[in-house]
């Protein structure tokens, strides 16, 4: 769950991290009001993805009229599929230097990494790729959190690459200690896998202000942050009900299915187990087909699950055939087969189905499928070839 900029900033402000004055506007009129109140403002599209500036979703304006005009333009935009529902109008800052300060999950270290760079204002991945020496990291103990000495080490390592800041480094390091500790605590409290301030602006007065923020909450922990999730959903959804998410994925989420859409593909893919389904997609592509989706029905493969999965996959009219790949651990092959036949008949499915399954009673299962006109496969690669063949050219 990726929060919008204004949500992230509200979280920052709540824990005492300085943010520029700003107002949320859902209409051009509200943007004009914000500019009247704040003076020169940046009008920023609120979408849960990066690259807004490059897409034209940010404008700096000097008057309420300009704010109204630019807000109207930006509110009509769609940025990489996300309709812009609101703009954040924010007072400008005087900038001495732009830093980066972030907390992010480091899988390899099994900890949150605290990251600081004097090269703020650009994507940290870009800095990592071009000049990794400009990024300093520490991995605080997850129970103790970052200690002052760790933050100082981090600060002196990062500031060593910013000669203009050499003189102020002691004061900056001292200011970064409580800021980094607060940011780390916020990440832990919100179950954030990414919590970053970029840029973190050093002003002429010597204060540090969070000029932009990114906050991503762990999906497994969403149950602990229902209010944030509800707020985000409200912010993303317009009167047309669209959220900017892929509509098929949004529907799958509502139905509680583990589904990823690959728009434009022609072969629906269903299986049990994430690794197995990923491999099913790989096999289809290997023999020249184009998978349309990933759908994992999880352990077991009862008739109900198979039916729900088929219904979901076939809701995309691009799907011209479905490959069902089931490893029958505990589930019996004949049960799976009966489930598939029943689902096909009840849903009135006309596109070709190829079912590959293994497990107890698999031969009986294959007989049931064949008798019902569904192609049974014995090996997964062979079944993949079959479905690609049946769906035909241009697959």
């Amino acid at each position: 769950m990726k929060l919008l900029e204004h949500q992230a900033k509200r979280q920052f402000a709540r824990v005492g991290i300085a943010v520029p004055a700003g107002r949320l506007a859902r209409t051009p009129e509200e943007a004009a009001d914000a500019a009247r109140e704040l003076g020169r403002v940046a009008v920023k599209a609120q979408v849960p993805i990066g690259g807004r500036g490059k897409a034209g979703g940010i404008a700096v304006v000097d008057s309420p009229e300009a704010a109204r005009r630019e807000a109207a333009r930006i509110l009509a935009m769609e940025i990489r599929g996300y309709p812009v529902r609101s703009v954040w109008c924010e007072a400008g800052l005087e900038i001495v230097h732009e830093l980066y300060l972030g907390v992010t999950l480091d899988r390899e270290r099994r900890r949150l990494a605290l990251i600081l760079s004097a090269a703020g204002g650009m994507e940290i991945e870009e800095v990592a790729a071009t000049s990794p020496e400009r990024i300093a990291k520490v991995w605080p103990d997850p129970f103790a959190g970052p200690q002052p000495f760790e933050v100082r080490e981090l600060a002196f390592a990062a500031l060593a690459h910013a000669p203009p800041l050499a003189e102020a480094r002691g004061r900056l390091a001292a200011a970064l200690v409580p800021l980094a500790q607060t940011l780390h605590r916020l990440a832990v409290d919100l179950d954030a896998v990414t919590c970053e301030i970029n840029p973190l602006v050093l002003t002429p007065e010597g204060t540090l202000v969070a000029a932009d923020g990114k906050l991503e909450v762990d999906e497994n922990a969403e149950y602990r942050h229902r209010e944030l999730a509800a707020e985000l959903a409200l912010d993303l959804e317009g009167e047309d009900g669209r959220t900017g998410e892929d509509p098929f994925e949004a529907e799958a989420k509502r139905r509680g299915l583990t589904y990823v859409h690959l728009p434009g593909g022609s072969i629906g893919c269903i299986g049990n187990g994430a690794g197995l389904v990923m491999n099913t997609l790989d096999l289809v592509q290997q023999v020249g087909g184009r998978p349309n989706n990933f759908l994992d029905i999880g352990g077991g493969a009862g008739a109900e699950k198979v039916r729900a999965a088929l219904e979901m996959v076939l809701s995309d009219p691009d799907v011209r055939g479905v490959f069902i790949n089931i490893f029958g651990g505990i589930t019996r092959g004949d049960e799976v087969a009966r489930g598939v036949v029943q689902a096909r008949d009840e849903l009135g499915i006309r596109v070709p189905l190829v079912v590959r399954m293994t497990g107890t009673n698999e031969e009986e299962g294959r007989r049931i499928l064949a008798a019902a006109g569904i192609v049974p496969g014995t090996s997964a690669p062979e079944a993949a070839r079959k479905i690609v063949e049946l769906v035909g050219g241009g697959a």
Binding site: L105, R107, E108, R110, R111, L112, E125, A129, D141, P142, F143, V188, D191, V193, D218, E219, N220, A221, Y223, R224, T258, V260, L262, G271, N272, G273, A274, G275, L276, V277, M278, N279, L281, D282, L283, V284, Q285, Q286, P291, F294, D296, G299, F327, G329, I330, T358, T360, S379, A380, P381
Partner: protein
């Protein structure tokens, strides 16, 4: 020979009275695993599936002499259960729970590291030493005692590999499902040295998938340690689009990290045979097993 689990392993089950916990404990008992106790807070003194139930892991260890925990409790309580098992002095913990908040696991992993317990999982299918014992979900009929070690991130794909190796007559020493979460107790580099030290393991199958860099680190370990047993690798997710979570919480390509091709290249560069299909895995193992 085997690694981690064998006939002598004494298992306690955290969550033995749950629907899933009870079903899989029965499957484990049917396979021959020695289950000695269950732990369910508030249910101490009861009996489940023929074993005594205790309120705490410490009590279960004291009374029943368990050395291994099988943790199958809901996600909100799982990290705490793992820490309880580690604090009680167990040798091995196997946690199959899917959906644990990742920062819970960050804390649990740090906690476990300060104890003597080795953690496998979470969000994993568990492990099996064919003919001796299993802990977790691996279907009872797939394994067969033999010479190949299996270490894998995914569940069903692991069962397929085991089945294939068994059907071909190679069999397995031990199969370890390490799990599909971003933060795991054990990764490939924790398990490979155990197979290196096990004289009965003559070859290793490594099943990886997109996300993270555990496969790359495995390749680095193979190179640095001079591991000389044949390795056959299989990586799923070549078709996965960047930025999308493919079922497993950890199966996601982020920026330039975690692509299937990067993992395939890394493993191939240290001499692993990289298979395109499960059938290929079995064939490549057959060609590489010494004396076959």
């Amino acid at each position: 020979m085997a690694i981690l689990v064998d006939r002598s392993t004494r298992v306690l089950v955290q969550g033995i009275t749950g629907r899933e916990g009870s079903f899989h404990t029965q499957q484990m008992q049917a396979y021959g695993t020695t289950v000695v106790a269950g732990v369910v807070p508030g249910r101490g003194g009861a009996e489940a599936l023929g074993v005594p139930v205790f309120d705490t892991v410490t009590a279960a260890v004291a009374a029943a002499g368990a050395d291994t925990a099988f943790t199958i409790v809901p996600p909100a309580f799982a990290a705490d259960a793992v820490m309880e098992a580690a604090a009680a002095g167990l040798r091995l913990g196997v946690c199959v729970t899917e959906g644990i908040p990742v920062l819970d696991m960050v804390r649990a992993a740090a906690f476990v590291q300060r104890t003597a317990m080795r953690l496998v999982g979470p969000n994993c299918p568990g492990l099996m030493t064919p003919g001796e014992a299993k802990i977790g979900f691996i279907p009872n009929h797939v394994g067969r005692p033999g010479r190949v070690g299996v270490v894998a991130r995914s569940g069903t794909l692991t069962y397929e590999v085991i089945q294939g190796l068994s059907d071909a007559g190679h069999g397995e020493t031990t199969a370890v499902g390490i799990g599909g979460d971003p933060v795991l107790g054990s990764t490939f580099v924790d398990i490979l040295p155990l197979f290196a030290a096990d004289p009965a393991t003559h070859a290793v199958v490594l099943v990886g998938e997109i996300g993270g860099s555990d496969e790359e680190r495995a390749a680095e370990w193979i190179r640095a340690s001079g591991f000389d047993k044949p390795v056959v690798a299989f990586i799923s997710g070549r078709t996965a689009p960047p930025g999308k979570r493919m079922g497993h919480a950890g199966a996601i390509i982020s920026g330039t990290t975690g692509s299937a091709q990067g993992k395939i290249d890394a493993l191939a560069s240290v001499g692993a045979a990289v298979a395109g299909t499960i059938e290929d895995v079995v064939r490549l193992v057959g060609e590489r097993l010494p004396g076959s």
